[in-house]
Amino acid sequence: MKLYDTVITTPLLLGTAQYPSPAILAEAIKASKTEVVTVSLRRETADGSGEKFWDILQQSGCHILPNTAGCHCAKDAITTAHMAREIFGTNWIKLEVIGHSDTLQPDVFGLIEAARVLSEEGFKVFPYTTDDLIVGEKLLEAGCEVLMPWGAPIGSGQGLRNPDALRSMRAYFPDIALIVDAGIGRPSDAMQVFEMGMDAILLNTAVAKAGDPVLMARAMAGAVEAGQLAYAADPMERRDMAVPSTPILGLAELM
């Protein structure tokens, strides 16, 4: 899979918040086989005071995808993106513009605005968006080459709330990297994402808040692989009734 100009082998991106300890986070990164980790740049740490923790992330050897979590308007998100570029030396930015502090759903209007500004400035924008096709289209027009639709609200672990919308996104944007971000709770949710032909998933809470995050990271890695294989294998269609898998020729018809 290609994210802008970077080729990624494991289509799983991992968030780095809420782990019991950095040591467990480092192990979970390994177990998940991820190559991209996201990190949130809070205002509190914009002065570089989070350095010790970021060193741990950089030691993982993964690509760092800074995010603008906690930004509630385009202007804040743009400022945070600038700070992230300076601190992490990357022009990748996972763009979050939060519309509601309780539901954490994206403000798609602010998102498109910020995506346009940042793309013009040379950022490679990974926008966290809804599953709305038109918003997706506008984000592409704004310069994004990747879309990150939600599966369900952030941290809810509800799985895919609207698989039909995600399927139509897949059909509508066949050549765009689609990463399902937010809402994945269990490996079965992750498998479903890949079975419908999405390119990648982004996880955080599902791994970080599991009783054993490292074990869950392994389970997710397994699900990602199984889902990808299943999509490549072209699964059978569902039917409304049983279809015998053994021939019935020669059996007595008792009706």
Binding site: S21, P22, A23, E44, T45, E51, F53, G155
Partner: protein, 322 residues
């Protein structure tokens, strides 16, 4: 003579343990007074091994079980347990917490009301951790210093430690490899109309809160955990999240007075567990993270054993210099 750098929680507790083993101890403190540099002044003072088990290694639970008893010999310890509640829409958090901890019993709405009348009708369920306790961190540090001095420990304020000190307990100042700061922010509120007799934890996926009663209608609320070395004052965001959560626990906190806010840096290693390590001729006790009062009894005893044992450090140093 055993020498210790740092008259914070770890330094004083180890000095006390060494003195109990009959050895002379001097503690060097660069600050002018007790606790001036100690991050424990911002601590909750919870002795809650079972609750901590939710998000930490089993070691924290087992090593922390004896903490309340150890502290009770030094300072007043309130042994009324911990009550854990969750807002009704986050009830799933309560079952998750129950699944991942031991030493608790589920209590009903009416039992919550009996335990803490102030929370009557506010929570349909709770978890009671009967065997947990809490203390007042600042009073405890003063009491610990007094007990240590009574056993002959010398504490020298305004005095930097010599470079060949036996034990270094200087927290973030120690600059050990892998040691990192985890910023914590807290507030102290006066709410004379609210009466809580035990530590209460409010579970929330984003803004978990604990409230520790300090007596006389004073409560400590905390605490954030931010991967940052910043020592600036508490941010408005953190303060509003803490106060908002306190208000959700009991609307009476809306009328409380904010007596104090604070921000400190918890020293932590990558696994968030304390370590007793030897570098050159100095032993280091550090990395207590959010478990200072809980784990210092066990680790101070360990450090004291090591400092006073036959194959001790002083002995090996003599050998070294011979």
């Amino acid at each position: 003579m055993i020498t210790i750098a740092g008259a914070g929680l770890a330094g004083l507790a180890t000095a006390f343990e060494v003195a109990k083993r009959g050895r002379a101890v001097t503690v060097y403190e660069k600050g002018a007074s007790l606790g001036a540099n100690a991050c424990s002044r911002f601590a909750g003072g919870m002795l809650a091994p079972y609750c901590e088990g939710e998000s930490t290694e089993l070691e924290v639970v087992t090593l922390g079980l004896g903490a309340a008893k150890w502290w009770a010999d030094i300072t007043p310890v309130t042994r009324r347990g911990t009550l854990v509640v969750a807002p009704n829409r986050d009830r799933a958090e309560l079952s998750r917490f129950a699944r991942r901890t031991e030493g608790h019993q589920m209590v009903s709405q009416s039992e919550v009301a009996t335990l803490e009348p102030a929370l009557a009708d506010r929570f349909s369920q709770g978890l009671l951790f009967q065997d947990e306790a809490h203390l007042d961190p600042r009073a405890a540090l003063v009491d610990l210093a007094q007990k240590a001095e009574a056993l002959g420990v010398r504490i020298l304020y305004d005095t930097p430690a010599p470079s060949d000190v036996d034990l270094d307990c200087t927290g973030m100042a120690a600059d050990l490899p892998e040691l990192r700061p985890v910023r914590g922010e807290m507030a102290i509120l006066a709410a004379p109309d609210i009466s809580l007799s035990r530590t209460v934890r409010l579970l929330h996926p984003r803004f978990p809160l604990y409230v520790v009663p300090r007596g006389d209608g004073v409560f400590m609320i905390g605490a954030t955990m931010i991967e940052s070395s910043s020592e600036r004052q508490i941010s408005v965001r953190s303060l509003s999240e803490l106060l908002g959560a306190a208000y959700a626990l009991h609307p009476g906190f809306g009328d409380a007075a904010v007596l104090e806010t604070g921000a400190g840096l918890r020293p932590a290693f990558p696994d968030n567990l304390p370590r007793l390590t030897q570098h050159n001729n100095t032993l280091y006790l550090n990395g207590f993270y959010r478990h200072g009062f809980l784990l210092v009894p066990a680790f101070a005893a360990k450090a004291a054993d090591q400092l006073t044992s036959e194959t001790s450090h002083e002995y090996s140093r003599q050998r070294h210099s011979a």
